[in-house]
Amino acid sequence: MHHTIEIRELVFKYPDGARALDGVNFYIAPGEKVALVGPNGAGKSTLLLHLNGILRGEGSVRVAGMEITPSNLLKIRAAVGLVFQDPDDQLFSPTVFDDVAFGPLYQGLPEAQVRARVAEALAAVRMQDYAPRVSHHLSVGQKKRIAIATALSMQPEILVLDEPTAGLDPRARRDLIHLLRELPQTMLIATHDLRMVAELLPRTLVLDQGRIVKDDATRAILDDEDLLRAHGLEKP
């Protein structure tokens, strides 16, 4: 298996020429769980959108052993499950079942397999009983879990999450952290929640103004108060 993320000299320019990503380099080994932190506007979400080819910049992005090219885009997207910050963007189907089934149905799997995948993904986020429910009426915490299930149903090797704990109450946040700890995938999580980072993610990348300014063990980074302050962060 190649659950790796390997990014070299990635540059992404906005249409107006501003550099959102300005030469990003990092490597994430199979099974590693890594945090991506940095101030608002640092380029975190933009970086995440490169990991399954939604955005394409200059430089090299290799995930799951494949260089991202237009011809293998669909394979890449099966390998990298992207969970967006706002679950309302991700849940666009009438029912929870339809949303979780989207990935497998798009892949053209037979019905029995689709049902098995959905059941498995909902069980992983402990939302089995919600399959027939309307996503729109769920709480934010429940929507977050369903959004993760929509990615898990593709059986990805890598899970990429954007601000998974934003807007959650303490209990929902706690449940989510437990859930993320249980999941076996290689993980890259963009977040401002440094307490979660300290608890869950052994390694941290600090992104600011489109560059990785620090790549180190989470403990070392969280102990460096000057570094945190310089990049709009705060020791938890």
């Binding site: 939604i54 890449i76 997207r77 967006f84 989207f102 892949q107 729109h136």
Partner: protein, 267 residues
């Protein structure tokens, strides 16, 4: 990442950019009204009108191609006038019969359709010139100054403000779908799903967007009411027009009237 392409305004320092928004709006409206009142087939007047549009476009420093390209957006609407070449009575140009009946193309009909297409093309270009050189908030202020009903101006303003929010939301929905549109590792399955299923997903996305817009509308109103909104937005008054601006306004209006008189005399 935001949607940028919607905003037609291009910052600049050209004479057209610097002209007061109230003058620009009034003259644009006068130009469009003049264009629509000029009789069909008054080709000389059309050339004069085109010359005016062209000189405005040259003064904006944006390049004429920019206006020409965008003005073609108006063409589909002009197509609605196409049946007129058959229905207007006049000297026949061509006739043919088919099972359904006899069709006659008349000279007057062709003249009218070409005139309508030209008029909409000219009007569109002037409107584009206004939008490209006037920032939207200024345009709203100008509408208020010209006594356009306040509620209407408020609706324009809110629509503009939230159009971008909505477009961003739609973009994120599309991305979320793209992120899960994948191929199985097992190569035997055909990706994409059935067309009916895909249509249903798209319908779900549209419904999602509608529901969220609806809820957002409610929240926006609450936030406005919380700040004392009573159906009327109050703004600071605009400074008085300077003499030079009055002169341009008066001159522009006079030219419009002259062209109209000329066209009516020629017709």
């Amino acid at each position: 990442m935001h949607v940028h392409f919607l905003d037609p305004y291009h910052a600049g320092g050209s004479p057209i950019h610097r002209l007061d928004a109230r003058v620009k709006l009034a003259l644009t409206l006068a130009f469009i009204i003049t264009t629509s009142l000029v009789p069909f087939g008054a080709w000389a007047a059309y050339i004069l009108l085109f010359a005016i549009v062209l000189s405005v476009e040259l003064l904006t420093d944006l390049g004429i191609a920019y206006f020409f390209k965008r003005a073609f957006l108006a063409l589909p609407f002009a197509l609605a006038a196409l049946p007129l070449i058959f229905t207007v009575q006049g000297a026949p140009l061509a006739t043919w019969s088919s099972g359904a009946g006899t069709f006659t193309i008349s000279v007057e009909g062709v003249e009218r359709v070409v005139s309508i297409a030209l008029k909409s093309w000219l009007s569109m270009q002037m409107a584009i010139a206004l939008a490209a050189t006037t920032a939207f908030p200024q345009l709203l202020a100008a509408m208020r100054a010209l006594r356009i009903p306040k509620l209407l101006v408020a609706i324009f303003g809110l629509m503009w403000r939230y159009l971008f929010v909505l477009a961003d939301e739609a973009l994120r929905l599309l991305r979320a779908r793209a992120a899960r549109s994948s191929a199985s590792r097992d190569a035997q399955y055909k990706t994409g799903g059935a067309i009916v299923w895909r249509a249903r997903v798209t319908g779900g996305m549209a419904g999602n967007l509608l529901l969220r817009s609806f809820e957002r509308g409610d929240r926006i109103y609450d936030a406005m009411a919380a700040r004392g909104y009573d159906g009327e937005a109050r703004v600071l008054p605009m400074p008085a027009l300077q003499a030079a601006q009055w002169l341009i306004l008066g001159g522009g209006l006079a030219v419009c009237v002259l062209i109209l008189l000329l066209a009516l005399l020629l017709a």
